[in-house]
Symmetry: C2
Subunit: 335 residues, 2 copies
DNA sequence: AACCCGCATGAAAACGATTACGTTGCTGCC
DNA sequence: GGCAGCAACGTAATCGTTTTCATGCGGGTT
């Protein structure tokens, strides 16, 4: 026996399907008495409106899609948590498609979501303006997260990597270190670029005469380890190191320990992201925290805001601040 | 201008809508020539079938729903990754609803998914047999992950906590420790119960004369710390400790370090889960690894298998093995 | 030559909701 | 008492597909 339809409810409550529909949504246009009778009948039959039928006529799915790359654990789950909580609060469903590596994979995912979602949340390094133009109908609202795309056609929501990196470097300098070396991320990565700029800006402002020392990594622990050894090979080695993310900082820490250096007494260290591991390494790692749940929540809210107003959607570029987390590794306490 | 419909394609290709439909799915019943003409017209118009309309008539959404509790980072993202990869491989979409604390919240989520999904993946401590009966139509295929529910009506997929815990205790005993103390998880938790049983079974088998020492925690780092102090207060304190999860082991480790004990020389330690942090604490933590991606993949495949066969779905209880990961903290190398 | 069968194709009926548009009946005002 | 106006309710069109059934056509068998 299949599920009850609106007709069954109508028959049960001895009214027309139109009245049932009216009673179920809003309830205007029906007497309180009949509305009550209808609701009683509905719950008696355990009636649940058929989502597809409603979608078809209203042209609204009450679903938003999230397109995500192959993300490292903590970031992914926090982001989804933020998105999901905000979505549920607004009565939206969440259709997820993650772990995309290639652009063509992402394109296929986007196409298959067509018509199932009212809007799209995209976080992906591979997605650029051309991709969006060719794979998306311009009528579909989109919010880009952490994207380098400078589109006037879509809302963009970024983490303030520049300010975060800059603040951490400033902190290290003001804690008494004459100079700070930097372990950069992959050059193709937007976040990495911004953090690099933040480092340079802070150095230029607070230590204009100090040398700029940069070693390039790729955000992996392994590359951090190599970068650490490379920095130690320099004479004299730097007294303070800022890594563009925590995983590289952790690898770097291993290199320092192996070399018999004490952190932070002999050399200070800081990372970026505040992944959980940062608290558990010894010494605990100073880093820059991104409020990821917040990021997801705001992204979804921006998207929903676009859905509501039918006018040419207001576009904005928004930036989400981050905060410095001072722990043992940067030696702030021994100034 | 709205998206192209099947009618537009039909007009463009000078055929009926029926032929377009046939050409798009499978293609049987149309000449190769006309099929090609239709596909050409379709791509010219950038035609994408309207998902809702198709759902309405086929009564299939090609979507499966995942109902998850408020999960700790790594586990959540790995599980979703496994589910998502398997789903995409089979052409299914993934509707996620996570971060559910209460049973009524979960119930609401389940209801709102009604009709949007072909099947449901449920991982939740709050969900029991009664919940399933009252909130789900029996026609909806469900796979329960890590659930204590012994239902003959639904497929259940569990991690072999018993074997994992048992194997770790056996390993500790055979590494030369005369006895092993246990830090248990919350008694209401199914995983915790199974790990507890595994501990007792291994003790009974490999150290039948040794005392059973158990301190109860709640899976948090804090409770692990308290448990560690409690164990050290005993005279003589245990020489080997097995915690029911890694977070408690990490808290416990802090307690041991504070007390000036060396791990593993003075006291051995092991956890369960193999969260990323386990590798980064000092000393690195021996633990039991669960193949989470695998868990998600298998769960989805089980579910899809049920979808395909219309007969009274074959029910099974499946168990996924886990493996011991030996690192520094258990002192296996200094036997 | 008559027949039948298979095959490509088209016409039209679903699917289950929303909603524009009529119809009814009642109220209130002149 | 008649008429306008309004609220409650029903009828039917509509959304975009799939699918059943009918139709016509070509060719092989008798």
């Amino acid at each position: 026996m299949s599920a009850a339809t609106i007709k069954d409810v109508a028959r049960e409550a001895k009214v027309s399907v139109a009245s049932v529909s009216r009673a179920m949504n809003g309830g205007s246009g029906v007497t309180a008495a009949t509305s009550e009778r209808i609701h009683a009948a509905a719950s008696r039959l355990q009636y649940v409106p058929h989502a597809a039928a409603r979608m078809l006529i209203t042209r609204r799915s009450n679903t938003i899609g999230a397109l995500l790359p192959d993300l490292y654990g903590e970031f992914f789950s926090e982001l989804i948590r933020g998105i999901d909580l905000a979505a549920r609060a607004r009565g939206f469903h969440l259709l997820v498609s993650s772990s995309h590596d290639g652009a063509e994979e992402a394109a296929a995912a986007v196409r298959s979501m067509q018509g199932r979602v009212d809007g799209l949340l995209i976080l992906s390094a591979r997605v650029d303006a051309a991709f969006l133009r060719s794979n998306l109908p311009k009528s579909l609202p989109v919010v880009l997260i952490n994207s380098a795309v400078k589109s006037t056609a879509h809302t963009v929501l970024n983490v303030d990597n520049f300010a975060g990196a800059s603040a951490m470097v400033q902190h290290l300098l003001q804690a008494g270190h004459a100079s700070v070396a930097f372990i950069a991320g992959p050059e193709s990565n937007f976040d990495a670029q911004q953090r690099d700029k933040g480092y340079r800006a802070a150095m230029a402002k607070y230590a204009p005469n100090a040398p700029i020392r940069i070693v390039v990594g790729d955000f992996t622990e392994e590359s951090g380890y190599r970068a650490g050894r490379e920095l130690l090979a320099q004479q004299p080695h730097p007294r303070a190191v800022f890594a563009a993310n925590d995983m590289m900082a952790v690898g770097c820490l291993t290199a320092f320990k192996e070399a018999g250096l004490r952190v932070p007494q002999d050399i200070a260290l800081a990372g970026f992201d505040d992944i959980p591991v940062a608290r558990y390494v010894t010494p605990s790692l100073s880093t820059v925290r991104v409020r990821i749940v917040e990021l997801g929540r705001i992204a979804l809210e921006q998207l929903v805001a676009q859905l509501d107003k039918a006018d040419p959607a207001p576009i904005s570029v928004q930036t989400l601040g981050c905060e410095i987390v001072v722990r043992e590794s940067c030696g702030a306490s021994i100034t």
